[in-house]
């Protein structure tokens, strides 16, 4: 009988001991793993949708300028799947800072991922508006508070051309839209094809076409109407939008203007599109695209010699430069995060970033000097943008500001359908895009 009792005594004693140990452990662990405090955790993580080379280059700058002098470690993380990652980590609460290209998702992130407002962080909004321009800062406004700071911009209203062949043929850089159309006619008369256009981009096919639309819209309907457009204060099939799309179609559907014709544009990878410019004789002479297209040009082509660019010309109105960019959002209110943001926005850091050749990062900080930039092309673009930001005529890419269901969805596909369907399909397409605008 004694031994029978012992069979149970041992396990029970063990049980009791463990229970005692466990409860002690729980107490200490709740102390450790309590709610996130505002204390310095020693790490600041920045999630960015940049190329890995860019991220490495920016990290170098951070390691150079920031990390040695502070009590935290700033680490840039490049993500290939940015939209998904931001949502997953945002909801789970593991984000510190992000550099967000889809500015239109700011309201969603504020709601679902508990973003911290700049006012709560203690930033001086007036000062920020001086540095970056009020229109830009306003893009981060949600419910009266600011949630985002510009981090970098890139110029989109650029038309590239093969400079050496241009000069040889005696063509002149056009200043107005009519001049541009006249130039196109001239090229046709000389036996060439003026435009190279490609819209294919795997899952994002169609986005270059939205850039065309935005440039035209900005210059035909003017900046105020442009703002009404992306804010949905006018419907997507408003006459001003229709007119802009028709002008776009005038170029694309013109029988001799586009190499391969409009119907081939959705199948042509945007990175392949400018290549015929570098043939001898050039397969095409004009290519409208944002600054990063630089990275797709042949490696031996020289800027300013083999190719150059001119700004998208004025149309009915002067318009302003179209730009894209990223804004930084905060998710953890802590002193090291704020410190890093201030350093990141400062002219030193921004100037150093301008010198990175792997990227075409232009600083939105109007105080950054153009001498910071790695080459002429970047410096000139920066000048154009600075002017635009200071004067208030520059506009952010509309499709990034619209709700993603439209801006990263139906606007893209609509444009492609327009190319395939021809001018008559425009009305139906604009109506479809209008119908797809989310109601909330």
């Amino acid at each position: 009988m004694n031994r029978r009792w012992m069979r149970f005594a041992v396990p029970i004693v063990v049980f009791v001991m463990i229970a005692a140990a466990c409860s002690k452990k729980d107490e200490s662990s709740t102390g450790e793993s309590g709610a996130p405090t505002a204390e310095n955790t020693g790490k600041v993580n920045i999630l960015a949708a940049v190329e890995p080379e860019e991220a490495a280059a920016i990290q170098e700058i951070a390691d150079d300028q920031v990390n040695p002098n502070v009590d935290y470690d700033a680490e840039f993380e490049a993500s290939g799947n940015f939209e998904q990652d931001v949502q997953v980590r945002g909801q789970a609460g593991t984000l510190d800072l992000i550099m967000l290209p889809q500015v239109g998702t700011i309201p969603t992130l504020v709601q679902t991922a508990n973003a911290v407002s700049l006012e709560d962080m203690g930033f001086d909004i007036a000062e920020l508006e001086d540095t970056f321009g009020k229109p830009f800062m306003d893009l981060g406004l949600v419910n009266g508070e600011h949630y985002a700071i510009p981090t970098n911009i890139n110029l989109k209203s650029m038309i590239w051309y093969p400079k050496d062949d241009f000069d040889k043929a005696g063509y002149e850089v056009p200043e107005t839209w009519d001049d541009l159309m006249a130039l196109s006619d001239q090229i046709v008369a000389d036996g060439g094809t003026p435009w190279c256009v490609g819209f294919q981009s795997e899952g994002s096919t169609g986005w270059p076409a939205t850039d065309w639309m935005e440039d035209i819209m900005l210059r035909t309907a003017g900046p105020e109407t442009y703002d009404q457009w992306w804010k949905h204060e006018i419907p997507f099939n408003d006459p001003s939008v229709q007119a802009a799309a028709q002008t776009f179609g005038d170029v694309m559907f013109h029988p001799d203007y586009v190499l391969g014709g409009a119907e081939n544009t959705p199948g042509l990878a945007f990175g392949d599109a400018p290549l015929p410019m570098f043939d001898d004789p050039p397969g095409c002479w004009l290519h409208r695209q944002a600054s990063f297209i630089n990275a797709f040009f042949p490696k031996d082509a020289k800027a300013g010699v083999d190719y150059d660019w001119f700004p998208f010309p004025s149309m009915d109105t002067e318009g302003g430069p179209l730009f894209g960019g990223e804004m930084m959002m905060v998710f953890r209110n802590a002193p090291e995060v704020k410190d890093f943001m201030e350093q990141f926005m400062g002219t030193d850091f921004q100037c150093a970033m301008g010198g990175i050749t792997a990227a075409s990062r232009l600083s939105p900080n109007v105080n950054v000097d153009s001498s910071c930039y790695a080459n002429e092309i970047l410096a000139d673009s920066a000048e154009v943008l600075k002017e635009g930001l200071e004067s208030g005529s520059a506009r952010f890419d509309a499709s990034d500001l619209m709700p993603p269901a439209v801006g990263s969805g139906t606007f893209w596909t609509g444009m492609v359908q327009y190319m395939k369907g021809g001018p008559d399909s425009l009305d139906g397409i604009l109506q479809d895009i209008e119908n797809s605008w989310p109601s909330s």
Binding site: F8, P11, I18, Q87, G203, S204, P403, A405, P438, S440
Partner: protein, 369 residues
């Protein structure tokens, strides 16, 4: 220790003790595991040590846990032993599944009744969208196509290959590895692989780098944008999945074929059966349970297909949408959690017929056994 039954007061006391003892052992083992896991939690520890500990404790410790629980069950009063023991065996599995799979399912279900930002309940609105939107309906039709064609081809080819390769005296491992190779390529690698087959460039923009267009040009034809040729583009995408998944079917079916006792096949041959008859009437029925397993897995995988469609061009433009791709698009890119979740629920519902079929087969097999 067959003593005379003690008086009833003692029996209750004994029962309680046994129960407590039974609990103590697994809890003790669990605590040991916990201490190790705590160590494993810190990501600063040397990786090799961490892996070593994980493998040892992971396998050894888990095994120990099962052993401990099993012993604990032995401590229970005899009446309960065999009733509780199976739960010891499936317990950890069920717990892990509940946390990692069932909980997300419930979470998704709840989200599907809420709006885009999961703020308010909207009832069945999201489901209305799922069954009326043109793109969604196309996605459902396409997915059905995937669910029928891909398993059909993959299992047939896998079965045929496994049967034939079993006959080889030499070179079997090599042949199997070649079919298995596509499974070893990561998805990014597979995407590149098929880009080099389907790639398209309009005339004048450089030569085509995709094999199919190379063939077209060689035959004097114009290059074709394969991915956008509706409705054949669905088939082109399905080929990719067949290419990748046949290796799975082949490996599993090959193992099953090798488990068929030689004597049965010999006997049939001696009786004068042709090879085809041996295959149809002996081999297939014998390995039918495995065929069912492989086919089920393929069907469910086809139901879930997302990567291939998402990466190969814009699905709406090419009309190649499938349900899972729509789900990701709405949930993550469109930021509409309600719709994304509702589409996921459609997936859950779609798998029910497959499950029902499996239950029936399962019961049949057990009757035979």
């Amino acid at each position: 220790m067959a003593a005379a039954p003690p008086p009833s007061g003692n029996a209750l006391w004994l029962f309680a003790l046994r129960l407590a003892g039974a609990l103590a052992i697994p809890i003790g083992a669990g605590y040991l595991l916990w201490v190790t896991f705590d160590f494993l939690r810190s990501s600063d520890a040397n990786r090799i040590v961490v892996v070593g500990v994980a493998v040892l404790v992971g396998v050894g410790g888990i095994f120990l846990l099962y052993w401990a629980m099993n012993r604990a069950v032995d401590l229970l009063p005899a009446r309960y032993r065999e009733g509780v023991r199976p739960w010891v065996f499936v317990g950890p599995c069920l717990v892990l599944l509940a946390v990692f799979l069932v909980y997300p399912v419930i979470n998704t279900l709840l989200l599907s009744f809420k709006d885009a930002q999961s703020q308010n309940f909207v009832g069945l609105d999201n489901f209305k969208f799922v069954f009326t939107d043109e793109s969604m309906l196309r996605a459902i039709r396409n997915t059905l196509g995937w669910m029928i064609l891909v398993p059909l081809v993959a299992v047939s080819v896998g079965l045929a290959f496994a049967t034939l390769v079993d006959r080889l005296r030499r070179g079997e491992a090599v042949a199997k590895s070649l079919i298995f190779l596509p499974m070893a390529i990561s998805f990014a690698g597979a995407a590149i692989t098929w880009r080099l087959i389907y790639s398209f460039r309009p005339a004048g923009f450089g030569s085509n780098i995709g094999l199919l267009n190379g063939v077209m040009i060689g035959l004097g034809q114009n290059p074709v944008d394969w991915i956008s040729q509706h409705p054949w583009n669905n088939l082109f995408l399905m080929v990719i999945m067949v290419w990748m998944q046949t290796g799975f079917a082949m490996v599993v079916l090959s193992a099953a074929i090798k488990a068929i006792p030689d004597e049965i096949i010999e006997a049939a041959r001696i009786d004068g059966a042709s090879e085809w008859q041996v295959f149809r009437r002996i081999m297939v029925p014998t390995i039918l349970p495995t065929i069912v397993v492989v086919a089920t897995y393929m069907v469910i995988n086809a139901l879930k297909v997302f990567d291939i469609v998402f990466v190969m061009g814009s699905a709406e433009l090419n009309q190649t949408e499938v349900v899972a791709e729509r789900m990701i698009r709405w949930f993550f890119i469109g930021g509409n959690y309600g719709r994304g979740a509702a589409i996921a629920v459609v997936l859950f519902i779609a798998v029910i017929p497959v499950m029902v079929w499996n239950v029936r087969r399962f019961r049949e097999e057990e009757q035979i056994r």
